[in-house]
Amino acid sequence: MSDTPHRKLHPDLHPLLLQFQEITGQPLESVWRVYEEQSLDKIILQFASLTFIIEAEPDDDTIKFEVTSKQDPNTEDWLQASGIEPWSSVVGKPFSWGWLTINHFDALDGILLSFSGNTPQVLLTVVGSSIKESVVFPATRERIK
């Protein structure tokens, strides 16, 4: 069966999307933040056997990320964030989905992450050379009056 017109739109993004596939199914063990000149420069997600590093690019407010072999926490620079929103509710759960966000300036400036679910739970966006963390909640059904 041939692909639909809405699949494989961006082959140039496949190397990035493959990073998500590498960590799929791995439980999130801990989360660390690294600040640079008061800006949240990096977020490090420690999985069972891999480390996922997300970084702000100050020159154009875009986001970059990579999967590496598991790294030991560098407690000199890394600040524990596992117990703080938006991470406290997803630590311990397996990574399930990752999305890229491309804004109306055609800049890849964020990612959406889901743990043990199929809708986004965490949104990371770069603004002002800093990563902004958001929690994404499903909408509650409105009561009809």
Binding site: R33, Q38, S39, D61, D77, L79, Q80, V127, S130
Partner: protein, 145 residues
């Protein structure tokens, strides 16, 4: 919390800030992560992330931006990325010069008529509209190319 900042001229500035329950609980959580004591660098990062420039030593010394007369702190320089060398220019001019449209300038709001340096200073102090203006200045050229 009382902080005393030593000024270069030998005088000292004293400031007071009330620490809320949220900040106390975050600090207690941090303490629990380091049973043998919090490393100085981690403590400094924690204080910077919570109190920013209100912490003595948190506000780095000012440094001149390249090719401008505006003095930017390292945090302000980071906010601007490679636009730091254009800190004296108006945000609107920078957006237009990079190929941005009139609607991009409009999206920058009142900051469009301020310099990038002024906008970066407000962004470092936490002004979200200033951060947006900086981001538009960084990314505007993407649609114009």
């Amino acid at each position: 919390m009382t902080t005393i900042t030593l000024n270069p001229d030998g005088t000292a500035t004293r400031s007071r800030r009330i620490i809320g329950w949220g900040e106390w609980s975050a600090f207690l959580y941090l303490l629990s992560q380091y049973p043998t004591g919090i490393p100085d660098s981690v403590l400094e990062q924690f204080l910077l992330s919570r109190f920013g420039e209100q912490v003595p030593g948190g506000a780095s010394p000012t440094a001149p931006a390249a090719a401008t007369g505006i003095k930017l702190t390292p945090a302000e320089t980071r906010k601007l990325g490679n636009l730091a060398s254009r800190a004296e220019e108006k945000v609107a001019d920078v957006i237009r010069s990079r190929g941005g449209s009139a609607s991009n300038v409009k999206q920058a709001g009142p900051w469009a008529q301020k310099t990038l340096g002024e906008t970066a200073k407000a962004a470092v102090k936490g002004d979200a509209t200033a951060e947006t203006a900086v981001k538009i200045a960084k990314q505007a050229r993407r649609l114009g190319q």
